[in-house]
Amino acid sequence: MDLSRRSFLKTGVVGTVGISALGFDLQPLQAQTATLKIARTTQTRSTCPYCSVSCGIIIHTIGDGAKNVTPAVVHVEGDPDHPINRGTLCPKGSSLLQDIVNDRRLLKPQVRRPGSDHWEDIAWDQAIEEIATKTKLLRDATFVEKDANGKTVNRFDTLAFAGGCTDTNEFNYLVVKSMRAMGVTCLENQARV
């Protein structure tokens, strides 16, 4: 598919330089507009991740979903069917393409060791292993089973979990399930502030 912008086909208006030296060219005149860049893209319905209006968006990706294609986002536009935004988007929603395709994205796990002044790369398995070890150590060292009055409290209140504003319900539920299972009390979210 030709995605180049403003690639004009010229029926009559242009070209044929010598022939139209005197300018009179009686072919019917139709000027070609640019190719519709989303004419052949694959569309995915999503929800804008910014404010709480929940604008429906359509993410256009290259390719038709075939096995051998890694879909890349080429355009994001409002979903005209969505009852709230009816296709409209604000300046943030309109620029979501640059949020999805952004060269500032973090692409690999990193660790900053104590006292260090730089990031080091770390393998996923290693990072998970270290985090789990540290978490368990901390929990076992500070877990409160009973309070001063002898009441069962089962609290792990030395580790805090801060949830983000764009975490989905399902993810948040997994957070509640896993963190409360460990006894985490310092559970907060962007929702608070």
Binding site: L9, V13, A31, Q32, T33, L36, L89, P91, S94
Partner: protein, 304 residues
């Protein structure tokens, strides 16, 4: 579905004679309605424009305003102009106006453009630059009463809003219109947009107390395919320099259309003149000339 669409052309820049094939199809005039009284200056239209047209980003500077940049740019066709206005009666207004190509019925750019086919006006009212024919003379810049076309020093061509002719050609609305969150932007046929505008103006006058509310569709350039509703139509200048009576300079109308060819002919008269001189008077040779052997027909007046 075809990815491409040709639009019927109504007018062509720098083109001699009539537009061949004009009137072959019916086509409604399309129009953008911009209701500045419900514009919140959110810039969604600016972004939608940049995103749809895949225009490169560029650095901007803080300039004591919410306005993105001082004026539109060759790769930034749509700009909201922000104006803090204290009216004579002491009331304060923060006016926002989406500034872009007005798609004039009588386009100054097209009138000024010398390059055949670099600017076309479609039958639906869209004035579109066909960059491959553009010669970069920038006369359109001067021809435009709204200061819209912008020159790219890199490509040496001039660019502006296309009213998303690629989208409109495929039956879609322009990208800015689609994005506009408040619906201050509207798209449809010109007659429908004028009706909507009139309705809104009446509401502004009777309900909201804007006695001078009105529609901006300047007839000095034959009307536009972008129509504004203003709280105060008596003073469009306060909306970031919207001219009250936009005009195309005479140099791009009378001079270009009439005097240019006449001037050329006049110049060519000199060519005709010297030919005539040669024929009737003959060359002026260093004297003495070689003697004349015989004179054909004349009385030999050259013979002195």
């Amino acid at each position: 579905m075809s990815d491409r669409k040709t639009l019927q052309v109504q007018r062509i820049s720098g083109h001699p004679g009539p537009v061949a094939g004009a009137g072959m199809q019916r086509e409604e005039q399309v129009c953008k309605l911009i209701d500045t009284t419900t514009c919140i200056g959110c810039k969604a239209c600016e972004v939608a424009c940049v995103e749809w047209n895949d225009m490169p980003f560029q650095p901007t500077m803080f300039d004591n305003t919410y306005q993105t940049m001082p004026d539109t740019h060759w790769n930034y066709w749509n700009l909201i102009k922000f104006n803090e206005v204290t009216n004579e009666d002491g009331t304060f207004q923060w006016l926002m106006r989406k500034h872009q190509c007005m798609h004039c019925a009588d386009p100054g750019c097209l009138a000024a453009c010398p390059a055949d086919g670099a600017i076309v006006q479609y039958r639906n009212g869209i004035v579109d630059f066909q960059e491959e024919n553009c010669i970069g003379c920038q006369f359109c810049v001067s021809g435009c009463p709204f200061n819209v076309p912008k020159f790219s020093p890199t490509t040496k061509k001039v660019y502006k809003c296309t009213l998303c002719s690629d989208r409109v050609g495929q039956g879609l609305e322009p990208a800015c219109i689609k994005a506009c969150p408040t619906g201050c932007l509207h798209f449809g046929t010109k007659s429908d947009m004028l009706m909507l505008a009139e309705k809104r103006v009446k509401q502004l006058q009777t309900v909201s107390g804007f006695k001078e509310a009105g529609t901006y569709d300047p007839q000095t350039i034959g009307g536009t395919s972008v129509v504004y509703v203003l709280h105060d139509a008596s003073n469009p200048e306060k909306y970031g320099g919207l001219p009250k009576n936009p005009r195309i300079p005479l140099s791009f109308t009378i001079w270009k259309n009439w005097f240019k060819p006449i001037g050329l002919i006049a110049s060519m008269m000199a060519f005709a003149g010297v030919i005539l001189h040669y024929v009737t008077e003959g060359p002026r040779r260093p004297q003495p000339q070689p003697p004349v052997k015989e004179v054909d027909g004349g009385e030999g007046k050259k013979e002195n």
